[in-house]
Symmetry: C3
Subunit: 394 residues, 3 copies
């Protein structure tokens, strides 16, 4: 569990590298700043309120709170669950909480104002995510209803994904993204870092899914790692094949997004699937990615890193897949999954809309045009990400 | 074991960064694409056929096959070996399988056609590597003979290295590598990423060798980590000293290749050596690297990343060293090691020659001259690895 | 413990990326070379003499030595401590030893001669660090005195930090750092790599502090991880708030240094603090960083990466904090901490002064002006870190 916590922490480096790699150089510092802010403030907020909102003891099923801060728990009581301690549990869940906000960060990159985004992070990570999480992982009403989400296809990825969707819609697209109604490619500045980011995320998923077994029971944990890796591989290969067939070029970023789609897709049922199920779920996620990216473009939504396709669309797919494949498959389970997806959709869309709408009408959420054109790094941070980078003469 | 699997997975990031760091910018995407393809397809193939070719149950010693796909194994049977489960074993070995192909990827970089390379990967990872592996790790004839290869100096590194040698020979050198018969330096584009790659590989070797103990027995595992790290350190320092003495400059890439040489060299006997043995084996590997790189140049073989020197030459050295140093040292063991090296040489040279020769005579294996000069990224992927990278004005 | 060793090893990648990210491109190879040298030679020296200097068996409390090399220890004796073996202990401590020298490497970057620096590393890692370490962790006189340093705020970070201070003072500032007595910003060349470095260091601290529990006891270890992460988060946020209030811009490098300051600050008492203590200690460390960086500038000391502020100043703060917060707080403990800080100050300043002063008066420690202006990479290594990096036409 502790090692898994370390790996989930490391995913934040993966997200950071992926996001800056797929965006333009002039906004690199800004994106890194947002990500570093999310990790640090997210952990502090989760300590202050989040953990006790999410796992609230006496609980009506919708909302509960066990007080501020962490308990000064006696060493004797530490082993409050089999296999992991109170402290490990806090840290592992705290790392998850920050992940939900990081997903939004990528989607709103290159045009959102820093301070309003920070306010959103504080509310969403500090309050919204833990309440949403309590419905299932805190033993709330969706848990009672039989809804299943092993490691967070919905509770983490969709929760982040819905907010990303709302934010992208309220923000509008980057200048130059749509010309005469047609989406234009705005290439990022560092594909090697994006690739490194995806491989680090895959590594982190060993912890994300492996740790969600919440024990070191070798049989269950090792099966989860196998299904996780096979889904990732199948997602990547499927996205590569479909995108090559459609667009006639070998598109690395589609390959990478396919891997991420497979990972998100398997997350809800990683412990319920056999290897073949995992490959099918991953492959379908990979296919979904290619079409979802194109659909989001056609909807005139501008998501620079493909976060909505990866985390929201594949998160929904993975959650529903628990009712279709594996040990829990069946109509009644499928219905439970559908209800869960719907409940989170309503709650996350509503809350993130309120937050972003209020911010938009008060402080504003979008940087001025000149700042967007010249880059957020120069305007908000007074610096460049590569201030001393020089070319060699050839 | 599961953590070691994660670390071995992470080695693929190390290989990717090392390879792109030591090659030119115009081929970066292509190399990353190949590596991502190897990891994903490798895992799927190992699931479909590889695992059951390598560990085939009833076995004549040369070739056996236990059917397609992974068993839907009952939870009760999961602990089929002491200390790790069926699933862990599959995943750990699957990560190894992909490594063999990655070694080839570096050697053929900057001039091989993408699709023929993919076909090679499918055959080599899916069929050749598992058959070769079964001879020793599947309990085949070399295992009966007393051949010893702890974690794959021969079974992984030489198996990849021989194919790299054959491929480089059939492909020919990059345009501009030899002028009037003299080798020219073709510097890579990002030494920091190459350095990061080597440190990630070293980290991965904690899992590669540590996990090959196939148990969490602390005495044996910790000794293996000590011998692994001491050999790496000695290899690096030796390569640095020799190359500085010979060429009068502080060559970082030689230092890095020395570390890798030490790691490959200790891999065959990491559990059989004491600390002093490990330092000697590593140091000799480091010295070998310097001369092997120069020898390969003089043979007019063009290996952009030094893969043949590191993985093949040091792989052979490490395998033979099991008969010279440590607990198993002795003439009869040395002979067994020599037979093993020879058997793999014959099999790997023959099979990889057939694959690459057939590909060369049918679809061709080398990109057109114009594509090579302008870069594979632009031609095969229609993109650049750093599409938005801009210089600062000074 | 073995996993923690791997994570501490990985910190060397973090240090390397942080250092090159915050310095200029023309000195990148040189810094990487120094770091790779430190890891490899450090491990070999620790095997040859360091380990037996630091844990010397019969011991007068100040200096002891148990002979050269590692024991050829029988497997039966391996479990010489509960929870980890002799080999694990060596490797874990060996990774620490190299860290002390790496701290110096950053502070002296961009102007120190390579060979004198190597000589310093050999003496400091091989002899000085282990002797200093033996005073507490070897059961020496400071241990008898009640001085407490859980994982090395003083024993590792200050020991490196004092040498960094002395070296920076003897070396002088980089050309152009002070104009008319005023400090000038010399921006680094790759902030993304620096950010990655900090996140890798944070990850490594999971091992650095987590492993220092010297057992896998889940209660103690998980608490240490919680205090470590909360202090890091609080340090970052505090440094961000203070520096934003003072300088009116969102300074990512200050945020990052705050995280590192929090990590160094909690290291001495990570197992003695509750979550609230950890947040306070981290936050104070973050505030200290902002003022310490500015103070060092005003003292006309030129520390390109902020190593003195992070490792020395926060190391002292963290050591003293053990007497102020948490389970050990009290005047007599505070006094013990103060004595410990003082003893290491005297010893490290004296020894590092002697080493650097002798080197300065004999071979010289600073590169010629022309070499400094043109970059150490070109002069000492005959190469550039990005030799083939080309810009795209826009």
């Amino acid at each position: 569990m502790m090692i898994c916590t370390a790996l989930v922490f490391f995913m934040h480096l993966g997200f950071s590298l992926l996001e800056i790699g797929l965006t333009r150089q002039k906004n690199t510092l800004n994106i890194l700043f947002k990500n570093i802010f999310i990790i640090t403030i997210g952990l502090l907020l989760y300590c202050l309120v989040g953990f006790n909102l999410m796992y609230p003891g006496n609980f009506n099923g919708f909302f509960g709170f066990a007080g501020f801060g962490l308990d000064a728990i006696a060493a004797a009581d530490l082993a409050y669950n089999e296999g992991y301690t109170y402290w490990t549990d806090f840290l592992f869940q705290g790392m998850f909480a920050a992940t939900a906000a990081t997903i939004v960060s990528g989607a709103v990159a290159e045009r959102i104002k820093l301070i309003p985004f920070m306010i959103f992070v504080i509310i969403y990570v500090g309050v919204i995510y833990p309440i949403a999480g309590s419905w299932k992982w805190g033993g709330g009403f969706l848990d009672q209803l039989g809804f299943y989400d092993f490691a967070g296809s919905t509770l983490v990825h969709s929760v982040g994904g819905w907010a990303a969707l709302v934010a992208v819609w309220l923000l509008g697209s980057r200048i130059g993204k749509f010309k005469d109604g047609k989406p234009q490619a705005i290439p990022g500045h560092n594909v090697p870092l994006a690739t490194a980011g995806v491989l680090i995320l895959w590594l982190g998923w060993f912890g994300f899914n492996g740790g969600s077994v919440l024990s070191a029971e070798p049989g269950a944990t090792s099966l989860v790692l196998v299904t996780t890796c096979l889904a990732a591989a199948a997602g990547g290969v499927a996205a590569f094949l479909v995108s090559t067939a459609l667009y006639k070029n070998f598109d690395l970023t589609m390959f990478l997004n396919g891997i991420l789609g497979g990972l998100v897709g398997i997350t809800a049922g990683a412990d319920q699937m056999g290897p073949t199920d995992a490959i099918i779920i991953g492959a379908i996620a990979g296919i979904i990615i290619v079409f979802a990216v194109s659909l989001i473009d056609r909807l005139k939504l501008d998501d620079p890193v493909g976060a909505i396709a990866v985390h929201l669309v594949c998160g929904i797919w993975g959650t529903l897949a628990v009712g279709i494949f594996g040990a829990m498959a069946g109509w009644s389970q499928f219905l439970s999954q559908l209800i869960g997806v719907g409940a989170y959709a309503v709650f996350c869309i509503a809350t993130s809309f309120i937050i972003f709408y209020v911010l938009k009408k008060t402080v504003g959420i979008r940087v001025p045009e000149r700042e967007e054109l010249e880059g957020l790094d120069a305007h908000e941070h007074g610096m460049s990400a590569y201030p001393d980078f020089r070319m060699n003469e050839h």
